[in-house]
């Protein structure tokens, strides 16, 4: 049984079937939709370039013999020491399984005090995107995006391209510095400025201004008010673990799994909700909100569950992380992790074509930021996995 009709959950279901699981296969999802792809929600789906049919994951329409429980939210899990456990849904249904994948993902963090003001939304689910798509179609108007992370930056780029006036407000002095490194973060800020986006860094939002139940502006901490008809809040996500509070499972910014994603006997976790000790991080745990990680983790988790059932030992889960973001006509990718010690081996930020290595304290290659260099990003991911030395990385990526 898979709890969470997400990319990770769907991939886990597919993986179990393909690995020979012949028994019943149940997928439970809080949303009414079949599992869908999230990256287009901040880009093509908002403009209409990607339609609903295209959004649905291809694997979700495969003949995998899945029993769907959609539109029902998981409310409680009682794990069994024999493996798996009993799941209670919000409509009172009770489902039992001897193997369970936890893939409930994360929800967008709400802006404190924004209430249910019209014209204010987050972007995480398809319903969120439907609302924002309609709002964009009613424009162009003025939009304020609160939070200069990937979702915020992509929405800003999409709205700006559609002719909206856009302001991006970020509390940190540099956007995305923790995930991309500060050079790349500032380059992304410059990219948005060059497209006419008003970028406010190191700026807090004081409150939202409303007129007749609808947002009409965003008041900044310095007193300035930016007038707008639409606000998009992109200030991060919170893992969906509240429903597990009584389960006795380890929780702490995610469900805590071991290095093979096992959470309890016959229970594994995958995707945005899962926190596990990554073998490349020397035992410290990590939780990733990335498309490729959801796919890799789901695939592994499904097989992990089958291996658990026959007490077969498995290798730990530890791929080199990799993600991409598309803004305007630019593609940025990060393989591995960003550090504050960097070296450019190809191009420059000014050209907006660059390969920048991220080095750890020992000088080893921990990551690579690539801007409009997709080939090098994938090569870098492989080189990092092979633990090549700096000299080799320079030669292969330069």
């Amino acid at each position: 049984m898979v709890v969470g009709a997400s990319l990770a959950g769907m991939t886990a279901a597919q993986s179990m079937r393909w690995s020979g699981h012949q028994g019943e296969l149940v997928v439970v999802g809080a949303e009414r939709h079949l599992p869908y792809d999230r990256p287009p929600l901040s880009k093509g789906y908002l403009t209409g370039a990607v339609d609903e049919a295209r959004l649905t994951l291809r694997s979700a329409t495969e003949a995998l013999g899945i029993t769907w429980w959609l539109g029902r939210r998981a409310e409680r899990l009682d794990p069994s020491s024999a493996g798996g456990g009993v799941l209670t849904l919000d409509d009172g249904s009770v489902l039992e399984a001897d193997g369970i994948v936890l893939a409930t993902g994360a929800r967008a963090r709400a802006l404190p005090g924004s209430g249910d003001l019209a014209g204010v939304g987050t972007l995480r689910s398809r319903n969120d995107a439907d609302g924002l798509r309609d709002a964009l179609a009613s424009g162009p108007g003025r939009m304020v995006v609160i939070g200069f992370g990937f979702i915020g930056a992509e929405v800003a780029a999409t709205a700006r391209t559609a002719g909206w006036e856009v302001a991006l407000v970020e509390a940190a002095p540099q956007p995305m510095a923790r995930v991309l490194g500060s050079d790349a973060g500032m380059a992304v800020a410059e990219l948005h400025r060059s497209h006419g986006v008003e970028v406010h860094l190191g700026t807090m939002v004081d409150h939202l201004v409303a007129t007749g139940g609808r947002v009409s502006g965003v008041a900044l901490s310095g007193g300035q008010v930016i007038e707008c008809s639409q606000v998009v809040v992109g200030i991060g996500a919170v893992p969906e673990t509240e429903w597990l509070r009584s389960s006795g499972l380890g929780l702490g910014d995610g469900v805590i799994a071991d290095e093979t994603l096992l959470v309890a006997p016959g229970v594994v976790a995958a995707g945005d909700v899962a926190r596990w000790p990554h073998p490349r991080l020397g035992g410290s745990t990590i939780r990733l909100e990335q498309w490729d990680n959801a796919v890799e983790m789901g695939g592994y988790a499904g097989k992990r569950l089958l291996a658990w059932a026959v007490a077969e030992p498995v290798e730990p889960f530890g791929p080199v992380p990799w993600f991409w973001s598309d803004q305007y006509d630019r593609k940025m990718q990060l393989a591995g992790v960003a550090t504050d010690r960097t070296e450019i081996v190809q191009g420059s930020f000014e050209e907006q074509r660059v390969v920048q290595l991220q080095l750890d304290e020992s000088g080893a290659v921990a990551g690579a930021f690539c801007w409009n260099r997709p080939r090098q990003a994938i090569m870098a991911r492989q080189l990092i996995a092979e633990d090549v030395d700096l000299e080799t990385a320079r030669g292969r990526l330069g």
Binding site: T11, D292, P313, K331
Partner: protein
Amino acid sequence: MVGTDIAGPARAPRRQQMKVVVDFDLCESNAVCMGIAPEVFEVRDDDFLYVLNDEPPAELQATVREAADRCPKQAISLVGD
């Protein structure tokens, strides 16, 4: 202790023939396919994807299927598979 390598989804058993078709309107040159099956997919320095062999031999088909499944844009179709 030696464990089983279970990274990546397992492959479903399928038929022999396969033709690789890329929808270039969807392809974003993320180069994931090249990372998995470099014998068949290559993203060059012009940022475009080139299919090096659109009828891959049997021994490459499993990795080509993985590349198609892992494409973030689901832009790769395998005809006759």
